[in-house]
């Protein structure tokens, strides 16, 4: 029995070593291949970067030598495009890149979409969106019919949002898909204003993640047309939505009336009180001081701290705080007022 085990173990070890050795050989061959790939890529970069620059920026004539032959050259072109798209905003350049990609890179990505490897398909989907290869929209729709991962589906939504917003709005209603808030934000931030505002039309029908993402995106887009939409949400039944709307309004930074915010000064949620204290930064102190004084004596540390910071931002803020310190008998509020006042004076 034991003898058998020893031979068995020897065989197992020998087999494993053979497998590992084969893997090592494969790895080295792979390295060799990679290094050849890199050589071709780098040679293309070296030879044609200047030509690309002249074509994209100096309106030089397009030369057929720029058309890629093989994956290595495609990767080189991807690098050139990605560096320009990330660092330079120019409609002309974007247009030229889009045109080139639709004409010459399309076939490469179309092939990649049918790859067995998930990562290759993902990379293709990334590129279709980045380089705006609209001509692959149909292929993408075909691709969607396969059994695909959530990540691929997300990337498809992004592509639809860029090329066919109506289709996007239809797809996002699909109740079977549920992405995180931050993922929805990544989608919404790219939408055109007229598409994005449609989310407010039947706001209550969306799942919570989309509702939150819509509010946050509206805040980031800083567009005046969302002000009224966000203000409407202040009377929503869900407190979290109220707080997000307050945050959004604070970030947009334009406050034309304070009445909608007054009820939140006495809100049960400290986060709402904190947001009001922040929003009052955008309103002259004369209109808000009485509320801020109330918030300065709040039971929550963050609210007190924010109220003091908001007061001190005003031209007469320090004087108001000094006055408060002398007249108040709330030790916590006084301590906070003293710290913020001292810091403000220190930084002058």
């Amino acid at each position: 029995m034991i003898k058998l085990s020893i031979t068995f173990l020897f065989t197992v070890i020998a087999l494993l070593l053979v497998v590992l050795f084969t893997f090592l050989i494969y790895l080295f061959v792979q390295r060799q291949r990679e290094s050849r790939f890199e050589q071709v890529r780098d040679r293309y970069l070296l030879n044609y970067s200047q030509l690309w620059y002249d074509y994209l920026f100096n309106n030089a004539l397009f030369s057929m030598v720029l058309v890629p032959r093989g994956a290595a050259q495609v990767e080189a072109i991807e690098r050139i495009f990605s560096s320009y798209l990330k660092n330079i905003i120019s409609e002309n350049v974007e247009q030229k890149i889009k045109q080139f990609a639709n004409q010459y890179l399309k076939k490469f990505y179309e092939k990649d979409l049918s790859s067995r490897r998930w990562s290759i398909r993902m990379n293709a989907l990334y590129r279709i969106a980045d380089l705006q290869i609209e001509e692959l929209l149909l292929s993408c729709q075909e691709f969607e019919k396969n059994k695909i991962s959530d990540e691929e589906h997300f990337q498809l939504l992004k592509i639809y949002s860029l090329f066919q917003p109506d289709l996007f709005m239809e797809k996002i209603k699909n109740p079977n898909i549920n992405y995180s808030e931050s993922e929805y934000r990544r989608l919404f931030v790219l939408l055109e204003e007229d598409v994005f505002i449609r989310f407010f039309d039947d706001f209550n029908c969306w799942p919570t993640n989309i509702q939150f993402a819509v509010i946050d995106t509206a805040a980031v887009k800083r567009n005046m047309q969302y002000l009224d939409e966000l203000k409407k949400l202040l009377s929503h039944d869900v407190m979290e939505i109220n707080i997000r709307a307050l945050k959004g309004l604070y970030e947009i930074g334009i406050i034309d009336e304070i009445d909608p915010f007054i009820p939140f000064v006495t809100s049960d949620m400290w986060e709402a009180r904190l947001m009001v204290a922040k929003i009052f930064k955008h309103v002259p102190l004369a209109y808000t001081y009485s509320y801020l004084e109330q918030l300065l004596q709040d039971e929550n540390w963050w609210v007190r701290s924010q109220a003091a910071k908001t007061i001190v931002e005003d031209r007469h803020g320090i004087a108001k705080l000094q006055q408060f310190i002398e007249s108040s008998n709330d030790p916590y509020a006084i301590e906070m007022a003293q710290e913020i006042a001292a810091r403000k004076e220190g930084s002058k």
Binding site: I2, K3, S5, I6, L9, F10, V12, I13, L16, L17, L20, F23, L24, L27, F28, Q30, R31, S82, K86, R117, W118, S119, I120, M122, N123, Y126, D130, S180, E181, S182, E183, R185, R186, V189, N209, D216, V220, W301, S305, E335, M336, E339, A342, R343, G346
Partner: protein, 473 residues
């Protein structure tokens, strides 16, 4: 003579059974990790990193740097934090009553000016002496406090911090500029379902650095360090990834990990009376998740995020390993009631038994295996064969797994790109069972004995300072 025979049979049986158990569990974890990494093979990472560079997607993080007598490395660490590509951070250096020039070095280097700041005491700590703010970098704060240990320093950092997430960083860690983005990725993507995340730690010895970041990795020449490199790779492939997939991680390295402040505070912050404070916090948070019946996760990120200096001499390595093992045992012992407790789900049924059997008591059994082989050699007869089987199992466990880890890592991540380096690592892996393994086993057993004798010391590692090496290159 008969008693000896019975003893040998008994121990031989236990050791063999244990080795088989460990080999099977490592194999399972390796396969899970392999499938996971295979999926991501060749995926363009820049797409993802860039998507989260904007403040709109990310969440602000406070970076905590506890420093006790770190005058050599602290400035480099802060620079590597300033290099991070992340939209909103604050750096909080906590001087834990250093007896060297740490405080003065930081004040001078970053032009620190005393400020008046009220600190919310979420977690009780030792007294803060003074808080400073840098005149050059407005988001950089220095807290000078009474000495209370690393855990206490981190707790002060948590109290002082103003952001919803904090990241603890060891004084000797060198980060990649995308480290924080990568480690925050699961947190951001999950909308807060992931409440703590740690990344893959690599060894910095031998790497080429400039301005606080690594630009070329090279295998160090010191054999002891190479063995540690292999050990890190193996731990990463045969442990962390698989455990993380099922939310079973009990250790995310203190060298670079992010926690939700709310949860960390609720879990009581870092425990000051225990050696492995990072593991303790993770276990406490797991406990809290189960108690509150919330759907939260602690995750390990396979991307390399942090580079750390590995001990270069046997003495320092011995101290480190002794300390680690003592810490592990202390934490497991403190939470022993979670073991096999149905209230804690898979953490109680898989994580705890795994850590008890494989990580904690493993060294005792394995060392027993080595002793068995030596004894069997003298006893002769039938024991030769048992000893040989044991030795072969050691070969699978030590050599085969190490080589597999080296090759698989090289295929999926390619940290050490040169062929010569891979071959060197493989050759060295063949020697592991003869010197490195028994040594570390012995030290870990020492840690166990120290735990039983309730001995503890600070065990601060003596550092050469990575920056020093940078100048030498």
């Amino acid at each position: 003579m008969k008693i000896i025979d019975y003893c040998m049979m008994f121990f031989g049986g236990i050791i063999l059974f244990y080795m088989l158990f460990v080999i099977v569990s490592y194999c399972t974890m390796f396969i899970i990790a392999m499938l996971d990494l295979r999926k991501r093979y060749r995926l363009d990472p820049s797409e993802y990193d860039d998507a989260h560079i904007d403040a709109f997607y990310s969440k602000p993080v406070s970076l905590l740097v506890p420093a006790y007598n770190e005058e050599v490395g602290v400035v480099d660490t802060v620079y590597s934090l300033l290099n991070l590509r992340y939209p909103q951070t604050e750096i909080i250096i906590i001087n834990d009553g250093s007896t060297d020039q740490t405080l003065q070095t930081v004040i001078k280097h970053f032009r620190m000016k005393p400020i008046n700041k009220i600190v919310q005491t979420n977690i009780p700590t030792k007294q803060i002496k003074q808080i400073y703010e840098s005149e050059i970098y407005k988001n950089c704060i220095l807290v000078d406090k009474e000495n209370g240990g690393k855990a206490d320093a981190l707790n002060v950092g948590i109290n002082v911090s103003q952001y919803p997430y904090f990241c603890s960083i060891d004084g000797d860690s060198i980060l990649d500029e995308k480290s924080l983005l990568r480690v925050m990725k699961p947190i951001i993507l999950s909308d807060g379902e992931v409440i703590a995340a740690g990344g893959n730690i690599r060894i910095a010895n031998g790497a080429k650095m400039q301005f606080g970041s690594i630009y070329e990795t090279q295998l160090p020449s010191n054999y002891l360090v190479i063995m540690q490199v292999i050990e890190y790779l193996r731990a990463f492939l045969m442990g962390r990834i698989a455990l993380s997939k099922f939310n079973l991680v009990l250790i995310i390295s203190g060298a670079f990990s992010v926690f939700s402040k709310k949860w960390a505070v609720e879990a009581g912050g870092y425990s000051t009376n225990i050696i492995g404070e990072d593991m303790e916090l993770v276990v406490n948070i797991h406990r809290l998740i189960k108690e509150k019946k919330e759907n939260k996760r602690i995750e390990f990120v396979p991307d390399p995020v942090c580079w750390t200096e590995a001990p270069q001499t046997l003495g320092v390595l011995r101290n480190q390993r002794r300390r680690w093992h003592q810490g592990l045992f202390e934490s497991l012992w403190k939470h022993k009631k979670m073991t096999l407790n149905p209230r804690f789900g898979l953490i109680g049924f898989i994580s705890f038994p795994y850590f008890w059997l494989v990580e904690c008591l493993g060294p005792v059994v394995e060392l027993g295996g080595y002793i068995y082989i030596v004894v069997a050699f003298f006893l002769g007869k039938i024991y030769y064969e048992v000893a040989l089987i044991l030795l072969l199992l050691f070969v699978i466990y030590g050599v085969i797994f190490s080589i597999a880890a080296i090759l698989f890592e090289s295929w999926s991540m390619n940290t050490y790109p040169k062929k010569r380096e891979i071959l060197r690592m493989i050759l060295l892996a063949f020697t592991e069972i003869f010197w490195y393994r028994p040594l570390t086993l012995f030290w870990r057993c020492e840690g166990l004995v120290r735990f039983l004798r309730r001995k503890s010391d600070w065990g601060n590692m003596k550092r050469v300072g990575i920056a020093e090496k940078e100048k030498n290159i």
